[in-house]
């Protein structure tokens, strides 16, 4: 299990992380760009995600169709995602195809942004926005975060709106790319069955010429607040509520304690919320999570139930988070066992390891071997959780509800 992580930083600032394991039968590779919705201006809302789509739509030497067909020829399981803080492009391939996959993905990172493709893909994005508009809980999350974070960029919408996406121009997207996709703001990572020497050599050749420039991000902590808001929608069969309070950032040491606490209180099974709400048939979904962001973070309760039961369900959920230390030593050990098992099982596959390597670097500029993360989780005590709660006391709840019109 003790596998070494190799790290190299090219002269242009691109960080390369490699963890090779010959026991794997596949290899994962990905570019992790430290950019997302929170790095957009209001006018640019949605452009990070739109740009992510455009990276599949052509480079100076490949058309969109060339990219699609080559991904097919490589038998790659390839995809990308955009969040508030990261834009990630990744693929898993069999070892023989790794070199070609690395070349293709590296080429995609320098997109042509062809105007015709830009106009066509804009329609696809507007369809994606329409798709999520039909999912009420997604609508609640977007609006709750936007309100809760106030003017803080952590509350920015990933998809943007019909208006912002319709208005954005190809040149504005290019300007965003030129502001964010600096090699020093990107990590190239690989995990699984591949040759580290070849990977590093090819990375130098393929990415070494990218020009570096400085990239910043506002990583201030958001102001905590306590508000109550209701949103209404027609034809809603279910009601949903989100409760938000100040939580640990991705850099805060308290994140370990709070994620264990969130498992005890709100994991999808075997948690306090499960037993008090789902097991009893009151809610079809009830969870508590620690949402750790860059420099800031929040704790989040989510419940979903029929409209007539929402008051009762929210009341019970609040009672649980208002007595956060009301758990036994066995509850604590069980939560740790669940988390450790997830780390081990996810870490076994190249894609699972790739994601933790790349994202950890983007947030903390470090790499942690699995064994160290596991030891850290195992070491957390009730005292650690008590101390974390002194800093993040879970008393400053904002509440958002989605109800039928």
């Amino acid at each position: 299990m003790a596998i070494k992580v190799y790290k190299e930083v090219l002269t242009n600032g691109l960080t390369i992380l490699a963890e090779s394991n010959p026991a794997n039968v596949s290899a994962g590779i990905g570019f992790f760009v430290r950019t997302g919705a929170r790095d957009e201006t209001a006018r640019e809302s949605g452009v990070s995600h739109f740009l992510e789509h455009m990276l599949f739509k052509g480079t100076p030497t490949r058309s969109a169709l060339d990219i699609n067909l080559q991904l097919g020829n490589l038998g790659a399981q390839a995809n990308a995602f955009t969040s508030e803080e990261n834009t990630v492009y990744y693929a898993t391939v069999i070892p023989e195809k790794f070199k070609a996959m690395q070349e293709l993905l590296s080429d995609m990172m320098r997109p042509a942004l062809v105007p015709e493709e830009f106009s066509m893909e804009k329609k696809v994005i507007l369809e994606e926005i329409a798709l999520y508009r039909d999912r009420p809980h997604f609508y609640l999350f977007e609006n709750a975060f936007k309100d809760y974070f106030g003017g803080h960029p952590a509350g920015n919408s990933v998809l943007g709106s019909d208006e912002s996406v319709s208005a954005v121009t190809r040149d504005e997207m290019k300007a965003y790319f030129d502001r964010r996709y600096s090699p020093s703001n990107i990590v190239l990572a690989a995990s699984g069955n591949f040759s580290i020497d070849d990977f590093l050599r090819d990375a130098r050749a393929l990415c070494g010429t990218w020009t570096d420039f400085e990239v910043g991000r506002d990583v201030s902590r958001h102001e905590s607040k306590e508000v109550y808001r209701e949103f209404r929608r027609k034809n809603l069969s279910h009601s949903h509520a989100v409760l938000l309070a100040k939580g640990a950032s991705a850099q805060d040491e308290e994140r370990y304690s709070l994620s264990i606490l969130s498992n005890i209180l709100g994991d999808s099974s075997g948690s306090k919320m499960y037993w008090d709400l789902v097991d009893k048939g009151l809610a079809d979904s009830a969870s508590f999570d620690s949402d750790e962001r860059d420099g800031t973070g929040c704790l989040m309760v989510y419940v979903s139930t029929s409209p007539s039961k929402l008051d009762e369900v929210v009341k019970i959920a609040k009672a649980i988070v208002n007595r956060p230390l009301d758990f036994s030593d066995a509850d604590l050990e069980r939560a740790k066992a669940k988390i450790v098992s997830r780390i081990v099982l996810d870490g076994e596959l190249p894609m699972g390891r790739l994601m933790s390597l790349g994202l950890e670097w983007n947030y903390r500029r470090t790499t942690t071997p699995l064994s160290e993360t596991i030891a850290k989780v195992r070491s957390i005590s009730r005292n650690d959780i008590e101390r974390a709660l002194e800093k993040f006391p879970m008393t400053d709840w904002s509440e958002y509800r989605l109800l039928p019109e």
Partner: protein, 416 residues
């Protein structure tokens, strides 16, 4: 190394040793599922599936849940159309305890009456929340109309059936269906076969039960165009048409033909509907087969004003496939299928699942070389032979959205 064994009580056991991993997975399949629910109590099986995890053997509901969690066992208990399924992933040391817990659930569930109202409440909420996921709802609605009873039963059950189920119904189903006779237990991961067999014998060796009969798959209903009014932002368009069965000659011709058509990124639908015309975010076609039926399913979700063009392009691509598949397209589909098989080799969960599925359909486990040989046999001409037998018509189409669409005549008709 894969070995298969049959216990004296009929339970089939498949073990695959994967020395390069640290974890292990199990899959237990028991014939039954929603098709075996009483006709006026569709969803009773879902209640049984839930109750099994709420107290079994010496353990209360909470103790059972905690016993899994103490070892960090990721587990799931599900009810399918024709089976009850139990699966789990774990650090391999925990396998004996996991199998012990599964044996309690299968053999000695408490089926406590006072759990029923809570479970009914959650299942009814699930049905309600289907309208908040139009893509899923459209598939459920099409399946109801496309397949013959009882194979058309909705995966969430029906509200009346769930409300009408009592403890006697659930207990009766469990007694009738939960038998080792045709059940399959598949295990893969960092395990030693001999040790696994000893454990399995210990927990399942004296499990007894008779043969279980699953309803026959009947004649397909007439194909048709269906529409459901919905005030949603997007219109859902779903398509289904007969294809080759799993146990028939030409299965891989069908699978690869549908991949040429419907694969993400490189498939014709993705390129023509999304990439070239920007009509949608999500579009695909899939091939699904059992020994009883084969189905090609296609989907596109789009805004109402672009729905007619979307369905026109979708149908044109579906029905224009025959005689036009190129060598390059076939090679791409072949490479992808083979790569996904190779990549599945490193996940114990994927291996346990596919071994169990092979046994379910074939009563044996195929080596990868046999599957690869079958995939290699497919040629452009054999794909065309498949498309001549299965031209993706007659077909059924369902739309869910603000208005109906015009569907060319001659596509719908008698089922086969």
């Amino acid at each position: 190394m894969i070995t298969t064994h049959t216990l004296a009580n009929g339970l089939s056991v498949i073990v695959e040793e994967m020395p390069h991993v640290e974890s292990a997975s199990y899959d237990l399949l028991i014939p039954g599922g929603l098709v075996c629910d009483p006709e006026d109590k569709v969803g009773a099986g879902l209640i049984l599936g839930e109750m099994i995890g709420r107290g079994a053997g010496p353990l209360s509901s909470r103790q059972l849940s905690e016993a899994f969690d103490d070892l960090g066992i990721r587990h799931g208990e599900g009810v399918g159309s024709d089976r009850y399924a139990f699966s789990g992933s774990l650090v391999s040391d925990s396998l004996p305890r996991a199998l012990e817990l599964v044996s309690y659930m299968v053999r000695e569930p408490h089926l406590a009456e006072d759990e029923i109202p809570n479970i009914q409440s959650v299942l009814l909420q699930d049905i309600d929340s289907l309208s908040d996921n139009p893509a899923r709802r459209s598939m459920v609605e099409l399946s109801k109309r496309y397949y013959p009873a009882p194979y058309n039963r909705p995966s969430l059950g029906d509200a009346e059936g769930i409300k009408g189920t009592n403890r006697a119904t659930v207990h009766g189903l469990w007694q009738k269906l939960f038998s080792p006779r045709r059940a399959i237990l598949s295990i893969a991961g960092k395990v030693k076969t001999a040790e696994v067999l000893t454990t399995v014998e210990k927990f399942f060796g004296d499990w007894s039960g008779g043969d279980v009969q699953i309803p026959q798959f009947g004649a397909m209903p007439r194909n048709d165009y269906f529409h459901i009014d919905s005030d949603s932002s997007q219109m859902q368009i779903v398509f289904a048409s007969p294809s080759v069965r799993f146990n028939q000659e030409g299965y891989y011709d069908g699978k690869l033909a549908v991949s040429v058509l419907g694969a993400s990124m490189f498939g014709r639908l993705f390129v023509e509907v999304r990439e070239k015309r920007g009509l949608c975010y999500s579009v695909y076609a899939r091939h699904g087969s059992t020994n009883d039926y084969g189905t090609v399913t296609a989907y596109v979700g789009t805004t109402p004003e672009r729905a007619q063009e979307s369905i026109d392009v979708l149908l044109k691509e579906l029905h224009g496939l025959r005689g036009t598949v190129t060598e390059d397209e076939l090679e791409r589909a072949r490479t992808n299928l083979k790569a996904s098989l190779i990549m599945g080799e490193e996940s114990p969960g994927a291996r346990a699942g596919s071994n169990a599925q092979d046994w379910w359909l074939l009563q044996r486990v195929r080596p990868l070389s046999e599957i690869n040989a079958a995939i290699d046999k497919v040629t452009v001409s054999s794909v065309d032979t498949f498309l001549a037998s299965y031209p993706f018509k007659p077909c059924s189409i369902l739309t869910l959205g603000k208005h109906t669409l015009s569907v060319p005549t001659g596509l719908i008709g008698e089922g086969r």
